[in-house]
């Protein structure tokens, strides 16, 4: 039957998936293990309290599950997650106003990895420098701060661009100007 052979169901526009399960669930959990903490830190830097940050990040992984389940694009899931988290944090800030937002300055001091080798005086200097840095970060534009924070979590400019819906060159400018401004302020 030549007809039967010719009339193949249009296969290409469909995303074919096999019945072997588990691989994408592994993908989801691997991403969770690797990215949940950096994502929460990023949300915290947007001025969101830790409990809300936890909600936002958990929610983004549930959305990622739906995205994967419906055969969504898998090419850059890390940037996808940051984009969802960013928008979610922005939406919540708009709806709840300032009462739910913290400030970078209110963050606890970072535990220095070389603390044991430092004298009390050096530690104090380190803390002093850190609090000045926090204050300086508050003075950056939102885009500059977002780009710099994502950069500290190891995202490449291309990923930052995708996360924030900016062009790669704009990300470069924000990183550069942000660092420049911080240096002026310190």
């Amino acid at each position: 039957m030549e007809q039967g052979r010719l009339l193949t169901f249009p296969a290409v526009p469909w995303k074919i998936e096999s019945l072997e399960t588990g691989n994408n669930s592994r993908l989801l959990l691997d991403l969770y293990d690797r990215e949940q903490t950096p994502l929460k830190r990023y949300v915290a830097m947007l001025g969101v309290d830790p409990e809300t940050a936890r909600d936002i990040v958990q929610d983004s992984f549930l959305k990622l599950h739906e995205h994967l389940l419906s055969g969504g694009d898998q090419s850059n899931l890390r940037a996808w997650l940051y984009r969802v988290v960013h928008n979610n944090a922005r939406n919540r800030q708009t709806s709840f106003g300032a009462r739910n937002t913290g400030r970078i300055e209110d963050l606890p001091p970072a535990a220095s990895p070389v603390a044991t080798d430092q004298s009390a005086e050096e530690q104090l200097l380190g803390q002093e420098r850190e609090s000045r840095l926090k204050q300086a970060m508050e003075k950056l534009s939102e885009a500059q701060r977002a780009c710099l924070v994502l950069r500290t979590q190891g995202l490449k400019y291309r990923e930052i661009a995708e996360s924030l819906s900016l062009s790669v060159s704009t990300v470069g400018e924000n990183v550069q100007r942000g660092l420049e401004r911080l240096r002026e302020l310190l």
């Binding site: 296969a11 469909w14 096999s18 830097m45 936890r54 599950h65 389940l69 970078i104 950069r151 550069q176």
Partner: protein
């Protein structure tokens, strides 16, 4: 910054390893040779380290139950590339055209949900039953081919192609508006890899 050859932009991108290919040919070599630029890079790295320390000091809350919630979610089915590669665009276009020309749907079936699917399928004379799952036979599937060793693959099926084979998912007006919409369906593939039947699993 005393060196005239490199600006701050290039230095930051050099530290971040974001140089273009042509820049990467000479910028790192210059930095290695130029004391001023090297010092600038060190200053950028120190500042970046400070930033990282601030960001990483953010309070983070996590509960084991968060991860457990994700573990308990419905498993996701993986897309193997080799299946996708087997079909060419040419073939798909030919097939789509052929369906449009030859398949004239006689009756439109409204499928509502899994239990209802079975009822509707039972009402269709040529429904295929495999492993307790009912498939609407495709009008052009070859009934003479044995359905032995069939394979069920789950895929996103465009609503428009379902309409082509007589399965109408929504009013005709919406069909025109939402031509790109897809639904999740189990597709029964015969031993020869050709689709025999379709079973819509879910849609919003």
């Amino acid at each position: 910054m005393k060196c005239e050859r490199l600006n701050w932009d290039l230095l930051v991108r050099a530290v971040d390893q974001e140089l273009s290919r042509s820049e990467a040919e000479w910028v790192p070599a210059h930095i290695a040779a130029c004391t001023d630029c090297r010092q600038e890079c060190e200053a950028i790295e120190t500042l970046s380290g400070g930033l990282r320390a601030v960001v990483n000091s953010a309070d983070v809350i996590g509960q084991p139950s968060d991860r457990e919630q994700l573990t308990a979610l419905q498993p996701i089915r993986q897309a193997p590339e080799k299946v996708l590669r087997r079909f060419g665009w040419g073939m798909a276009i030919a097939a789509t055209l052929a369906i449009g020309i030859i398949v004239a749907p006689k009756q439109r079936v409204k499928i509502v949900d899994r239990p209802a699917t079975q009822q509707v399928a039972a009402a269709i004379s040529n429904a295929i039953e495999v492993d307790g799952e009912t498939f609407v036979a495709l009008p052009y599937s070859n009934p003479d081919l044995p359905a032995s060793a069939p394979r069920i693959v789950q895929m996103q099926v465009p609503v428009s192609s379902l309409a082509n084979i007589g399965i109408s998912m929504e009013p005709a007006v919406n069909e025109i508006l939402n031509q790109d919409r897809t639904v999740l369906a189990d597709v029964l593939l015969g031993a020869d890899g050709q689709p025999l039947g379709v079973h819509v699993v879910s849609w919003e």
